[in-house]
């Protein structure tokens, strides 16, 4: 939590300064309000929930919020990178779910250790990203269609090795034999261990992904070229960059992050459920789109995506603590998304003109 806030404070003040040159103080005020709106709301939510239910603010609950959003934030970061190159990856949810199955299969059926399983599953995600890129870049299949087909393909593929069964210790394979392996205890630590008894490993992973991808997209020339590809592909190609390679990179990053999300889920759940990861895709896309409103960027940005995921997590956790029924959750997510997009496009544009 703290690491995220530290990163965001500096850009806030800088955006404010630029706007000050452009507009009067009134415009400046509204611009800062707009760019900080998500943070102001987030602060208000934290204060409000704490006032209503003091247990909300204890460190354990805050960490459980972050742990709950870690997977969505990691997947959302991947979506952000594909949005930056002007694409879209609809297969991330299916990649994450397949990764849960792949990790379980590797350990329970093949008897692999955590050290072998993690790279294998990450490589699986990268490979799927590569196939997505092949479809989109070489065969010129529109990105939405290519990744949608990949989503269907993976949702079905993950059922085949076990003939549609979930994977847990003692699984009976389609050929009648019983699997002998089990989850490596070291693997389970990824989902269940907390550093110093406070910070869950999955939250650390989320923070690492956030920092690495933030630096990659906003502070390196590769990031500049990724965004350039999404901003004006022709101009990027005429400037001598290989947009095919940049797009491939984006989909490989997205696929790899999705499989990392799958690893975190598998390590938390400890078994390979066929139904895992149902709402992951929509939640990750929502986080990335809410991210457009963060700091008034009006474009995909990694930081915004993470903040967007946390924002939804805080809201759902707080409402749950206040005994809001579980079935209102999707409505709340939808309302946040609609509000964020209205803020980004409608209010943002009229204030800018």
């Amino acid at each position: 939590m703290t690491s995220i806030n530290d990163e965001t404070l500096a850009p806030v003040s800088r955006t404010g300064k630029i706007d000050k040159n452009a507009n009067g103080w009134l415009g400046n005020l509204s611009a800062s309000l707009r760019s900080g709106a998500v943070f102001i709301l987030l602060g208000a939510l934290l204060l409000g929930f704490t006032a209503a239910e003091p247990a909300f603010a204890n460190i354990g609950n805050l960490m459980s919020i972050l742990q709950a959003v870690a997977v969505v934030a990691i997947l959302g970061a991947g979506v952000t990178v594909t949005l930056a190159v002007g694409g879209f990856d609809l297969s991330i949810g299916a990649i994450a779910a397949s990764s849960v199955m792949a990790a379980s299969y590797a350990m329970i059926v093949w008897g692999l250790s955590a050290v072998a399983t993690v790279p294998l599953v990450l490589a699986f995600g990268a490979l799927v990203g590569l196939v997505n890129a092949l479809l989109i870049v070489r065969l010129k299949v529109p990105d939405l269609l290519a990744t949608l087909s990949m989503m269907f393909l993976l949702s079905g593929l993950q059922l085949i090795p076990t003939a549609g069964r979930s994977i847990s210790a003692g699984l009976i394979l389609p050929d009648g034999t019983t699997a002998t392996g089990a989850y490596d205890p070291a693997f389970l630590l990824i989902g269940r261990f907390s550093l110093f008894g406070i910070v869950p490993v999955s939250v650390v992973l989320m923070a690492l992904v956030a920092i690495v991808l933030f630096v990659l997209t906003e502070r390196t020339r590769i990031g500049r070229l990724l965004f350039a590809t999404g901003g004006n592909e022709l101009a990027t190609r005429l400037a001598g960059a290989s947009t095919a390679r940049l797009k491939t990179l984006a989909y490989v990053i997205s696929g790899t992050l999705a499989s990392l999300g799958g690893i975190v889920i598998a390590a938390r759940v400890g078994r390979g459920d066929v139904s895992s990861g149902g709402s992951l895709l929509m939640d990750a896309v929502a986080a990335a789109l809410i991210g457009f409103a963060v700091l008034g960027r009006r474009r995909p940005n990694v930081l915004g995506t993470i903040v967007g995921a946390v924002f939804v997590g805080v809201l759902l956790n707080g409402l749950t603590m206040l005994n809001a029924p579980y079935y209102t959750q999707d409505f709340v997510k939808g309302a946040v998304l609609v509000g964020a997009l209205a803020l980004t496009y409608g209010v943002g544009r009229s204030a800018a003109q």
Partner: protein, 492 residues
């Protein structure tokens, strides 16, 4: 009594007076050529006549009745139909030729709600018979050649009882044979009593076709020429001066060329040509839209391919497969239409002035990958000073700059690193006179490289180049060296 009489027509856009008291007449049964340089007011006049724009003042009389159409539909109903250069919008993929011919009828009230295949074919065939064209009725519009689309547009115009047909650069994307076929059709339409206003930069077309030529300059009709039309005089009227003396500092450079092309063909069926450009030389290639200028430049840069032929850069074979190859070999290209080919959208990473300049040079300026060290800021400051770019600083959003200043930034991008051959495609598009002067100065001040400029405006070519080559139908037309003549240029 003339068919159309335009009297003192004026139109301004803000402070710009696009049309200042234009007066002309057109009779039934004649083909009138409308000539003029870019910005002379041709397209504004056409837009007013076709109902796209209202005039500020002045009157138009059509068949003795006042004529002031508010929409293209009203203009067509009165008998004035315009066929534009780009025929993509005439129909749509998925519609057949027959559908396209009847498209405007489908929108009329009182038409039956249900349509039958055979009914459409019958009506469409009647339209084609009336025009005397032969077109495949069941062919998809998307599969038609540019020439056939042109004919579809004309046939539809005639079906609406057009009395004045306005054609805007109709042959721009046609082959010679297709143009000839179109001319034959236009002549027979004229003999049938149709008035045709024909706008073209291609003097050869006008020579073959026009009964009369009107020359526009500065928003008014500056001269009228009867058959036999003296095109040299018409072109001088177009520019308002003799162009041969426009450039006092022409450099004639000899020696080994920096860049050479031998036996080059842009399309398999086009004529082969040679080209050589020397260091310190500015060569302009001029030709009408669709003549192959951009294709030529793209092939040299690596963004496109030659159909056939060899290229040499500093004597070494040059066959770039990608723009990256071209840049690595020392070729730089600022492509046509900067918004499409060079700039990032507003509010997007890389849309600042400094980032616009640095885009092709990121790997060189930031070898470690991290964007630290302020190299692009320093380069941008240098460019702002050297090219007199009006901007608040290196971080200014590129969208906040005027067209001329944006173009300077694009030029600065490709001058930021040394190159052997600089290619500029339409570098003066949407650039005001002052910025144009600065850009020309900047281009001509460099003698360490060769510069090749493509422009469809011969006047621009004259202002900037030491040597002018003419491209037509995807091939360079041989032109005299050192003492170029514009009429020779345009006549090609």
């Amino acid at each position: 009594m003339p068919l159309l009489h335009v009297d003192a027509l004026s139109r301004s856009f803000g402070p710009t007076r696009a049309l200042t008291s234009a007066t002309l007449t057109i009779d039934a049964g004649e083909i009138v050529a409308l000539m003029g340089a870019n910005g002379a007011g041709k397209s504004t006049l056409v837009k007013i006549l076709s109902g796209v724009l209202p005039a500020d003042s002045g009157t138009v009389t059509l068949k003795r009745r006042p004529y002031a159409p508010r929409t293209p539909t009203e203009a067509a109903a009165a008998g004035v139909v315009t066929v534009h250069q780009s025929t993509d919008l005439v129909g749509a993929p998925g519609l057949t030729v027959a559908d396209t011919l009847l498209l405007s009828r489908f929108t009329e009230r009182g038409q039956p709600f249900f349509v039958s295949r055979s009914g459409i074919r019958r009506q469409a065939q009647a339209i084609l018979d009336a025009a005397g064209f032969d077109l495949p009725l069941d062919r998809d519009f998307a599969d038609l050649s540019a020439a056939d689309r042109q004919l579809v547009a004309i046939a539809r115009a005639l079906a609406n009882q057009a009395e004045l047909l306005i054609l805007d650069e109709p042959t721009a994307s046609l082959s010679i044979a297709e143009s000839r076929r179109l001319f034959d059709i236009l002549r027979s339409l004229r003999d049938g009593g149709l008035a045709i206003l024909y706008i073209s930069h291609r003097t050869a077309d006008l020579e073959a076709l026009a009964d009369r030529a009107l020359v526009m300059r500065g928003g008014a009709v500056a001269g009228a020429f009867q058959r036999p039309i003296d095109f040299s005089a018409a072109i001088e009227t177009m520019f308002g001066r003799k162009l041969q003396s426009a450039r006092p500092d022409i450099r004639i450079v000899d020696g080994t060329p920096v860049f050479e092309m031998r036996g080059a063909r842009l399309l398999p069926e086009s004529t082969a040509f040679d080209l050589a450009v020397h260091a310190g030389e500015v060569v302009a290639i001029t030709g009408v839209l669709g003549a192959g200028k951009s294709r030529l430049l793209s092939a040299i840069f690596g963004a496109g391919r030659l159909s056939d032929g060899e290229m040499f850069l500093d004597g070494r074979p040059h066959h770039p497969q990608t723009p990256a190859d071209g840049i690595a070999a020392g070729v730089a290209m600022a492509a046509e239409d900067r918004h499409r080919s060079s700039l990032m959208p507003a509010n997007w990473p890389g849309s600042s002035l400094a980032a616009t300049i640095s885009l092709p040079h990121l790997a060189k300026w930031y070898p470690h990958g991290l964007l630290f060290g302020g190299r692009e800021q320093r380069e941008a400051k240098k460019a702002i000073a050297r090219l007199r770019i009006k901007a608040s600083g290196p971080q200014a959003p590129i969208a906040s700059l005027s067209g001329g200043n944006q173009q300077k930034v694009v030029l600065a991008r490709w001058e930021a690193e040394p190159s052997r051959l600089l290619l500029l495609d339409e570098p003066f598009q949407g650039v005001d006179v002052g910025a144009r002067h600065d850009i020309i100065q900047a281009i001509r001040s460099r003698t360490d490289r060769a510069t090749l400029i493509a422009t469809s405006d011969p006047e621009e070519a004259y202002e900037v180049a030491d040597r002018i080559l003419v491209i037509d139908h995807h091939s360079l037309v041989p032109a005299a060296r050192g003492a170029p003549s514009v009429s020779q240029g345009i006549h090609a």
